[in-house]
Amino acid sequence: MTILGTLALWVAFLLAIFGAVVGFLGGWKDRADLKRSARNAVFAMFGAMATAVFALEWALFHHDFNVEYVAAYTSRNLPIFYTWSALYAGQKGSLLFWATVLSLFGSLAQLLTAPRHRVYLPYVTGVVSTVAAFFILVMLAAANPFDRLAYTPLDGGGLNPQLQNPGMVFHPPMLYLGYISMTIPFAFAIAALLSRRLDSDWLVAIRKWTLVSWLFLSIGLVLGMWWAYVELGWGGYWAWDPVENAALLPWLTMTAFLHSVMIQEKRGMLKKWNLALVIGSWLLSIMGTFITRSGVISSVHSFTQSSVGYYFLVFLVGAAIASFTLYARRLPLLEAESRLESMVSREATFLFNNLLFVGIAFSVLWGTLFPILSEAVEGTKVTVGPPFFNQVNIPLGLGLLALTGIGPLIAWRRASLPNLRRQFAVPVTAGVFAMLLLLVIGMRDLSPMLTVGIGSFVVATVIQEFVRGTRARHRQYGEATALALARLVARNRRRYGGYVVHAGIVVLFIAFAGMAFKTETEATLRPGESATVKSPYGWTYTFTHLGISQYDQLNRQVTAATIEIRRNGKRVGLLTTEKRQHVDGLGRPTFQPSTAVGIRSDPLEDLYVVLGGVVNGTEQAVLRFTINPLVWWVWYGGMIVVLGGLIVMWPGGTPAVKRTQAGYAVRLVAEK
């Protein structure tokens, strides 16, 4: 099977080179036969890559430990769920996964692109094939997942225990899907530049792709936070680790694009900016891969580091030079079709929104790369950890949150004073009222107060928009409230789905603010002994250690401490936290013992208990108790964001092309 896999990689590589050459030539010479060949090459490349994935999965499921990758990431007793996900647990497998999904997306772009946008496809094929060729080349030259060992071990080393978590089965592919799908909008952007078709047509072609990409990135980020929270045991979900930052960067720029693209669609403005954002987002996704793979910046994600990072650096620099050179040459064709009419308009607020999104992206990138810069300038590598990122990004984040509410309240083109008064009265009152309420109940922390105040303002804008829209339909069509609301959303999915995303973002921000009130205590408890911890809400929690049990489960030896929880003396339940010693199929320990956190979650707070270990081999347990307020809302806020994204991209509603035309129609009528 490894011969088949390597052969499939070579075939895919040759097809990618062929597809790239023929795609670009077909677009340039406008030759139908070349275009057809390029299209078929992408399909064939996907076939070859799927064969390679099949070969690797075959080796994984058949425990072919002569294959270095299989021996490194699996063992005979690894649960089947994780044997499958071992495909992308390591460097080599994730490159294979990446190239395969890219070829799949390339094929889907051929099949799903509407006939009126097929003019871009030869160049799109060329770009996708070039990127795929690079990934396959890296595998063939430096990271072949089908490399064999000189001997066959009896069993494999097993999968890193931290990766044996459902979150890790879904988190990496979601993030990868987000990164990879970003190649398609990038390919369309390059196609638009090469073909000089730089009106808003290419934006319509990439609309679903940008949303898909943003949605996968959002899901990947939230799942990553969830995994870090339940698996790593440090009591938080975001540590501003370089690899986390690398995933956040393209999400920020893509979110900026999803806002600014509306200005181009409605007003024919910001063409240069939108192109730059699409190109920049894709380059950031490649840069994220470089940071993850190279180990150039120290990160907790050290399990993915190797020398292939420098291949990515070369590719990144080459792609950036090529893309922005082409972009610079086309600048004269990217003039705006209309002008901004007022500083007080939705267009202007969207520009400030973009400024903050890109500004936050810049500050995150700056903080991530500053250790390298400092080492180059001063010869000393400094650490840039959470204190730096929080200090810089919290004010920017609050500004962005405020714009989330302000933007939808201001009319397109020009807002009048009565219009502003009518739109802002209720939301501003809600925000001020929320802050006063917090002051009255004794809160004095500025950041959480501002977060709740601004969050209330944004939620009020969202509710106001839904209420007004529903009332308008009720008045105009006589529909019942529920029906009017459903039809309002169904007919304007982008707008109201966007509002749902805004509501989800508010929930996330308020949940983040909750972590300012986190409390932690360590204790050593014998069975029957208790520790008490004061909750930020004023309750007293009593944690009683009931004892430790040891047993074997799946591929691990478990040591579990059972804790009884009482709130103000009233029993609320039991919680178990574990130490897990993973073993291979022969019963040999494979990694250091890992921790399984005990979590009891409710909408107000999480009780988070970690078994650190025991004293002198007895049941005297070393435990850490953490109370994390509002964490529950991080996961549900994430779900609301995803729900909003799904509403926006759900097929149907008003077609994008009509919406675009509607925008111009309004302009023509007004300016005639």
């Binding site: 790593l232 009591g235 540590a239 990160s299 907790v300 002008r339 901004l340 009419e341 500083m343 520009l351 400024l355 890109v358 500004g359 700056w366 903080g367 500053f370 400092s374 300038v377 001063e378 000393t380 590598k381 400094v382 650490t383 840039v384 950890g385 959470p386 730096f388 200090q391 009319a411 219009n419 932690e520 360590e522 204790a523 050593t524 014998r526 069975p527 029957g528 004892g547 430790i548 049990s549 040891q550 040591t559 130490k579 010693q581 250091q592 890992s594 921790t595 970690v610 650190g612 270990g613 004293v615 081999g617 007895t618 049941e619 005297q620 070393v622 850490r624 309004v666 009528v669 007004a670």
Partner: protein
């Protein structure tokens, strides 16, 4: 009834296992996993829990010590602060040593910044979770803000110029077949549409 040979073997093995299983605990009283019921509540296999730990003392929960430790980076290459690293899964051996060092310095009468300075003297500024705000590091703190501020000023200037350039649209000539009332209604509806 005659048992087939394979089934007979299985039955004999099962019987043997049951007997051994029943006898073994009688001779293994020294190892007990029940809470507090064995001699000293010793674990059946302490090696499964990782390295042995010291009991937590009141000083370990000292809020002032925690604040200091959250400013110091553990040098085990985990990229976390000392407090977070030593309490995450308690497997690191570097952060407990640094923790003891912090406690020792505190017991000698040193306060927050002095303890941090002492670590910087020993390990360099890389031991800090955030670079000190002086020298080139100021660029680290102020560049993002200054860049965003500069971009904001440029954006405001550009917006003012663009909105100034955009000449007010002349009032559209009323079509012959549209009354002023109809035009007013159209304007209202367009305003609603664009809101």
């Amino acid at each position: 009834m005659i048992l087939r040979p394979s089934l007979a073997r299985v039955a004999v093995l099962a019987l043997a296992c049951a007997l051994l299983g029943g006898v073994a605990p009688l001779g293994a009283q020294t190892r007990d996993s029940l809470a507090g019921s064995g001699p000293g509540g010793t674990l059946w296999d302490p090696n499964r829990v990782g390295r042995p730990l010291e009991p937590i003392t009141a000083a370990d929960n000292d809020a002032a010590i925690q604040v200091i430790e959250k400013r110091l980076r553990c040098t085990c290459s985990c990229n976390q602060d000392v407090y977070t690293c030593r309490t995450t899964d308690f497997s690191c051996t570097t952060s407990p040593t640094m923790h003891r060092h912090v406690q020792a310095l505190a017991s000698r009468g040193l306060i927050g910044q002095q303890i941090v300075d002492s670590f910087v003297q020993e390990d360099g500024i890389a031991v800090l979770m955030a670079p000190p705000a002086h020298g080139f590091n100021l660029a680290g703190y102020f560049t993002p803000g200054l860049v965003i501020l500069a971009a904001g000023v440029l954006l405001v200037l550009a917006l003012r110029r663009w909105s100034g350039d955009a000449a007010p649209a002349p009032a559209p000539a009323a079509p012959a077949d549209a009354s002023p009332e109809e035009l007013e209604r159209l304007r209202r509806e367009l305003a609603q549409f664009t809101d």
